[in-house]
């Protein structure tokens, strides 16, 4: 599939921490404007996949992004190329204020519109605006997740990576969060790669999905195909 329109193209990706290899050669791709979900149990290698893209662990194989190879690059360079990563646990800067958390999101940008983006995101997430001068550490789980997404988007990335955004949030908050992600993708065309365990809510947003088990792609297909696949239903949807 090389030379196709894919924004992110991963082929034969191996990833390991020290001697322990976690990904044993996986292939997947993300088209521009698409929302792709990777499902998997604990320890399947979901988080490692995102960390591999950002070169935060040792990788083998090809990671093509917009025609450039990411393998072997420094994390800061991957970020400069336009990939934003919302880590598991949201990666908040507790000692910085909410506003500073957003400002640091735009660290790599040189353009002048950072201030206007800032006010725009405060409109999208009014609750963050109320707390702009409070230290980010004092926000609730849901608020920190919103802050993390907004911070990532402040960098105007071409591809947004989200690591289990639903983790530790009440169901209502998760619904609300994924509705906003859907809206952001629809209105601003931000391409997203979401790694999740919560399959039901992920399928609502996803265009395509993969199932990852023990470091290998077990299944792939459009969201609808997988949603109706009985094995997936029993394993990930619980009915």
């Amino acid at each position: 599939m090389s030379g196709s329109t894919a924004l992110l193209e991963v082929a034969g990706l191996h990833a390991s921490y020290g001697q322990a290899e976690v990904l044993h050669g996986i292939d997947f791709h993300v088209e521009p404007g698409e929302v792709v979900v990777i499902l998997g149990a604990n320890g399947a290698g979901k988080t490692t996949t995102l960390r591999a893209i950002c070169q935060m662990c040792t990788t083998r194989g090809s990671i093509g992004f917009d025609g450039h190879q990411l393998g072997g690059r420094a994390t800061t360079e991957v970020v400069r190329r336009g990939i934003a990563h919302v880590p598991q646990g949201r990666g908040t800067f507790p000692d910085l204020t909410v506003e500073e958390n957003l400002e640091v999101g735009a660290y790599v940008r040189k353009d002048k519109e950072v201030a206007s983006d800032l006010s725009r995101w405060f409109e999208v997430f009014p609750r963050l605006a109320e707390r702009r001068h409070l230290s980010a550490g004092s926000l609730s789980g849901g608020e920190q997740q919103m802050l993390a997404v907004a911070r990532a988007l402040m960098g105007r990335p071409r591809l947004l990576l989200l690591d289990e955004p639903s983790l530790g949030l009440a169901p209502i908050i998760v619904q609300d969060l994924f509705r906003r992600l859907d809206a952001i993708n629809a209105e601003q065309g931000v391409t997203m790669l979401v790694v999740e365990q919560n399959a039901s809510v992920a399928f609502e947003v996803a265009d395509r999905a993969y199932v990852l088990e023990a470091g290998r792609i077990a299944l792939s297909g459009t969201a609808d195909e997988l949603r109706h696949d009985d094995a997936v239903r029993r394993a990930y949807l619980g009915y």
Partner: protein, 502 residues
């Protein structure tokens, strides 16, 4: 995944960016050593001072000669040696493998010195370089009966355990005749018992503690300088003269054995007089400056301020007094006698330190008035030739000369004794010194008298620092008569009684 803040509190964080007292100036600080030289400017003799010198105490030459003293090995019992003041050595009491001529060959005499050469107190280690340069001078003039004096110095960083290791190794090496100028009271205390049992002469200890006069229990150990206890007694004598109808005295004291010796000496000396000690402020090695102490003593508005401290604290003390509104009579420790080292830094702050009184025992090599003294001429011409890297104006080297001069006198006398130059005779000579060192200020004597007088230096001349031009270093001018307790102190037993009484 917890938001891993960078320095997780639970993570083991090695604290303390401070090694503070650690390798810095340890709590010991620049304490009880002769640091900064006890040299003080010689004085042109004022009318009052008696210049006649008691017989037998004639001033020694630049290189001392033997004065055919009638001491040494007993003609009949070869293991008995006799010296001045009834002092005797019975070598049968020494260990069986004791070798009288260890460290002495017909070519060379080996001496050993352990003192801080590295670390915070390395400033004092320069004494060894000074002593070596004097020995080189003596060797260049034929040495001791043709024997060269060789000094081996080991660094102990002023730590008693390391001094003990150095001395143990020196003893085992069986290479040295005696030890010389070991610095630090606890350092010497750590090894004096062993040196006495090994019959190894521990000569001219470089500290002002009174213990080195303990001739009864530690015959093989002697001190050299005016000990701080006696110096404080001289302060009291001088103050009695200056304030006949009494005075209030305040003191800033270094919180270690050095400062405490002054305190004990002064208290014992003013008992029963009309001098009263109204306030004593201590400071330790980690005090940044003496402002707190100065403010407290200034509040007492005493007539006299004693600066029983050393190192840069002396300079800070003088600066505090000059900058403050209270102007008492200031008496400072003799260890801060060097103009260049302690008064020099004041000039740069627009201060002078004038009016400060100090007890001088030795001449100050930087004082132009002494330029014509033979010893000063020998020093100023020899030092640059022998070791060009050393700066002659740094008086610590001259202090080295003072110790080395006494050592040379001891070796010369021992060489002339019956039984020839050996370690027993060296010890006898050390306790029978009768020549006055040319480095002493005029009128003072340096005499030892066996069991009767175990202290070499027991006198001093109080001088006042006067400044003509504030931009230049001034000079010391004698204030009052020579204070001479020569022969009156006796031994440590007597001093201990006075101390116990204080």
């Amino acid at each position: 995944m917890r938001a891993t803040r960078w320095s997780k509190p639970a993570a083991f964080v090695m604290a303390v960016g401070l090694v503070a007292a650690a390798c810095g100036s340890s709590s010991k600080g620049s304490s009880s050593t002769t640091a900064g030289a006890t040299t003080t400017a010689g004085a042109t003799t004022t009318a009052g001072a008696t210049t006649t010198v008691a017989s037998g105490g004639q001033v020694g030459d630049v290189i001392p000669k033997a004065t055919n003293q009638p001491y040494g090995q007993d003609a009949t019992t070869k293991t008995l040696y006799k010296g001045a003041g009834g002092f005797q050595i019975d070598t049968t009491k020494c260990p069986s493998d004791w070798n009288p001529t260890q460290g002495i060959t017909d070519k060379q005499i080996d001496l050993f010195i352990s003192l801080p050469k590295a670390g915070p107190l390395a400033g004092f280690g320069l004494i060894a370089d000074g002593a070596q340069s004097y020995f080189n001078y003596v060797n260049s003039k034929g040495g001791i009966g043709g024997r060269n004096i060789v000094l081996t110095s080991k660094d102990d960083g002023y730590k008693p355990d390391v001094t003990k290791t150095n001395i143990d190794e020196a003893l085992q090496a069986k290479k040295y005749a005696n030890t010389l100028t070991v610095l630090g009271t606890p350092n010497n205390l750590a090894v004096w018992d062993e040196l006495n049992t090994e019959c190894m002469p521990q000569l001219l200890n470089g500290t002002g503690a009174a213990q080195w006069g303990d001739v009864e229990n530690h015959p093989w150990t002697t001190g050299m300088q005016l000990d701080y206890f006696t110096e404080a007694k001289l302060w009291a004598t001088w103050l009695k003269g200056k304030y006949p109808n009494g005075a209030k005295v305040a003191a800033i004291v270094y919180n270690n054995d050095f400062g405490k010796s002054y305190e004990a000496g002064f208290k014992s000396a003013i008992k029963g007089t009309n001098l009263t000690l109204v306030s004593e402020q201590f400071h330790d090695a980690t005090t940044p400056n003496l402002d707190n102490q100065y403010t407290t003593v200034a509040a007492t508005n005493a007539d006299v301020l004693l600066l029983s401290t050393t190192g840069s604290f002396c300079t800070q003390g003088m600066a505090a007094v000059e900058k403050g509104s209270w102007h008492p009579t200031v008496i400072m420790s003799g260890t801060c006698g060097s103009l260049a080292q302690f008064f020099g830094p004041l000039l740069k702050q627009g201060l002078t330190g004038k009016g400060t009184n100090i007890i001088q025992t030795f001449v100050d090599v930087n004082d132009p008035a002494n330029a014509n003294l033979p010893i000063v001429q020998a020093y100023s011409s020899w030092l640059p030739k022998d070791s060009p890297a050393l700066d002659p104006t740094k008086t610590t080297y001259f202090t080295g000369w003072i110790f080395a001069w006494y050592m040379t006198e001891i070796l010369q006398q021992a060489n002339s004794y019956a039984g020839g130059l050996n370690r027993a005779n060296i010890m006898i000579a050390a306790r029978s010194i009768d020549q006055t060192s040319p480095m002493l200020i005029k009128g003072l004597q340096s005499k030892m008298n066996g069991l009767k007088d175990a202290y070499l230096t027991e006198g001093g001349q109080m001088v006042t620092y006067q400044v003509a031009d504030p931009a230049q270093l001034g000079k010391f001018v004698p204030a009052g008569d020579l204070l001479n307790l020569e022969g009156q102190l006796g031994t440590y037993a007597a001093v201990k009684k006075a101390l116990a009484g204080s």
